[in-house]
């Protein structure tokens, strides 16, 4: 067989090779994204995602969608514009969640014995699916950024509420009121994380009474729009094939 001849001899064989190639690429993509997104998210989301007593209605709601829309936007840019595959956001979030769960279960629980109900990760899946769906239906980066980015911010809090709400039930403890999440943070000693490091319920958003979570979610959605644009372009730039020699 010369170099100019095809490696496959029939259409069936070509399809088989193509499918094998699909799985190889998907597997590699999944774990590369998992690694990159996980590191990025640990560095930027960090404690807000690690501990339930950081998951408040102001900063957790605001910060996490903003730092979490990054890789979904970039992976979408590569998969959509090159392959018309609308699962970039979902595959990124699947990777992140798998990485986070491995980390929380093996490290936080397995090595240091923090209970899993104190250290479980945040869930981005509703926003990711909506982001993919909007990109697919509109085929527009701008619409996906504006509508999808906003939805990504807005869906985060209600998407996590079924898991978080039980931990926001109040408890009276030795004469003080706190939530069960606060109590977890107090009971399960973190020597290197004193209470004052906790960034919760800070800010000047005091004119909306107790309903600050929706306002925070809207603000998060607006910033997520900008971050989506930025990271979508990153995806396009880094998804270039300019350095790959054509056959």
């Amino acid at each position: 067989m010369s170099a100019s001849q095809s490696a496959v001899r029939s259409r069936a064989e070509a399809v088989k090779v193509s499918r094998t190639f699909d799985w190889l690429i998907l597997f590699t993509l999944f774990f590369v994204v998992l690694g990159g997104y996980h590191v990025h998210f640990m560095l930027t989301g960090g404690d807000w995602d690690f501990w339930t007593d950081w998951k408040d209605r102001r900063l957790w709601v605001t910060v996490l969608p903003i730092v979490g829309i990054t890789f979904p936007a970039a992976v979408q840019a590569v998969l959509w514009w090159r392959y018309r595959l609308p699962f970039g956001a979902v595959v990124a979030v699947l990777g992140l969640l798998l990485g986070e769960w491995i980390n929380r279960y093996l490290n936080f629980w397995g090595w240091t014995y923090f209970p899993v109900n104190f250290v479980f990760p945040s869930n981005f899946m509703p926003g990711a699916i909506v982001l993919d769906v909007i990109l697919m239906l509109t085929g527009s980066m701008t619409t996906t950024a504006v509508v999808g980015g906003l939805a990504y911010g807005l869906l985060f809090y209600p998407g996590n509420w079924p898991v978080i709400a039980p931990l926001h039930v109040p408890v009276e403890y030795n004469g003080m009121m706190m939530t069960l999440a606060d109590l977890q943070g107090y009971h399960y000693v973190r020597t290197g994380t004193p209470e004052y490091i906790r960034m919760v319920e800070k800010g000047t958003l005091r004119t909306f009474g107790k309903d600050v979570a929706p306002v925070s979610a809207f603000f998060s959605g607006f910033v997520s729009i900008i971050i989506y644009f930025l990271w979508h372009f990153f995806g396009k730039w880094f998804g270039s094939t300019a350095f790959v020699e054509a056959a």
């Binding site: 499918r19 899946m125 709400a165 004193p194 004052y196």
Partner: protein
């Protein structure tokens, strides 16, 4: 000759491998908290812990123990460390091997950060409930914002039993009693698994079709739009609407199940009550102080004036949690950690009772291996070469007076 060289090389390589493998079997437990690495001046001139008591040395899982005592917030707080305006009474243990069932300063529960005043003495107590079996070094600890963790004395405590039997029952304000150790765990797993499953379904829908090579060819040929079929759009719409519906319904049902929820609680606790310490009737003036490096001893010349109405003797010098004692005057009866206790580490040139109204200049030597073991000797390398500590004087009735000292320190290398 070459064969011999090859053999030697091979054997050397095998020996190296065996050595590395053998090294893996030596994995000592890292059980310290870096207390010895903290700058000496941080430990000597910030928080002085004293009258400490660990209620138990052995405790069974689910049983409790307390660490109680007092701490003095040193008035000569170093400039290089932020003031303790925002501080948190912590506990130095290797993760949640105990849970902190309660902590109090001046009788007030302190689950949050507090403001401490320089020059004040506070009483504290930490209630711990054993969770994980093992031998644990349990330290007192004060975190100071801008200053870092200021770790106090530690004592080994053994926890026996089984962690699987640990429970943490809590009754909420809605009247429900839960075990915080496992509460909400099934719900968390359920929702995460459900959403992960939905994500996988979305991925699986697209993975049924050829993915990369044929689609790349089609897109590059300008036929990208043809890759999305009408069915794809209907399925996508179904996913989109379905996701929003699930989110809305799950939120509504959650609100129905948990109608009463409150925000996380945060904020600084001010007005922590300090102890009204009696004004000491003993005045101490440090004439000079040197640290003799070869002898691992601090020598101080001090003038003591007794302004009280009973004769007093110097019984103890306490700095950075190390207690140098004159056994003829005072002895520890609290089971203080051995490595921090120099029972006969305090030598006084003339420790006969100082009568009321009398003034005496004496030489005091505090010597013990603890200077080296606890790296307090590193004080000579600190940016502000001063030392500080507490002196305890006793009268014949056993009454105690505490006097703070703070003075420059001159190292002696010969």
């Amino acid at each position: 000759m070459k064969i011999l060289k090859d053999k030697v090389a091979k054997l050397s390589f095998v020996a190296l491998l065996i050595t590395i493998t053998a090294a893996m079997f030596y994995a000592p437990t890292a059980s310290a908290h870096g207390e010895k690495s903290q700058a000496a001046f941080m430990r000597m001139r910030t928080i002085h812990w004293f009258d400490l008591n660990w209620s138990k040395e052995e405790v069974v899982v689910n049983d409790t123990m307390t660490i109680s005592g007092k701490f003095f917030v040193f008035g000569g707080w170093p400039e290089t460390v932020d003031k303790p305006d925002i501080s948190f009474l912590n506990i130095g243990i290797p993760g949640p091997v105990f849970i902190r069932a309660g902590s109090w300063i001046g009788g007030q529960l302190v689950p949050r950060s507090v403001q401490l005043e320089l020059g004040e003495t506070y009483e504290f107590k930490v209630l711990l409930k054993a969770r994980r079996p093992g031998d644990w070094h349990v330290h007192t600890m004060m975190n100071v914002k801008g200053g870092g963790p200021i770790i106090g004395p530690g004592k080994w405590v053994t926890v026996t039993g089984s962690m699987s039997s640990f429970t943490n029952p809590i009754t909420t304000l809605t009247g429900q009693t839960i075990d915080l150790e496992t509460y909400n765990l099934g719900n968390t797993y359920f929702w995460h698994a459900a959403w992960y499953g939905i994500g996988l379904l979305w991925l699986a829908y697209w993975c049924r079709k050829p993915l990369f090579v044929p689609r790349l060819i089609a897109v590059e040929a300008g036929k990208g739009d043809a890759l999305i079929t009408g069915t794809d759009k209907k399925v996508a719409l179904g996913f989109g609407v379905g996701v929003i519906a699930i989110v809305a319904m799950s939120m509504a049902s959650t609100n129905e199940s948990f109608p009463i929820t409150t925000p996380l609680q945060a904020g600084l606790l001010r007005g922590i009550k300090s102890i009204d310490m009696p004004v000491p009737t003993v005045a101490v003036k440090i004439e000079d102080a040197t640290y003799r490096v070869p002898g691992r001893a601090m020598q101080m010349t001090m003038t003591i004036t007794n302004n009280g109405d009973s004769a007093i003797r110097l019984g103890e010098f306490n700095t950075a949690g190390v207690r140098f004692m004159d056994a003829a005057v005072a002895q520890d009866e609290t089971g203080y950690p051995d490595d921090l206790l120099a029972e006969e580490g305090l030598t006084v040139s003339d420790n006969s009772p100082i009568a009321p109204g009398q003034s005496r200049t004496i030489q005091v030597t505090a010597s013990d291996a603890a200077w080296e073991v606890y790296r307090l000797a590193d004080l000579i390398y600190d940016p502000d070469s001063r030392f500080a500590g507490l002196l305890f004087f006793y009268d014949q009735s056993g009454n105690r007076q505490m006097v703070t000292i703070d003075a420059p320190l001159i190292p002696s290398f010969i």
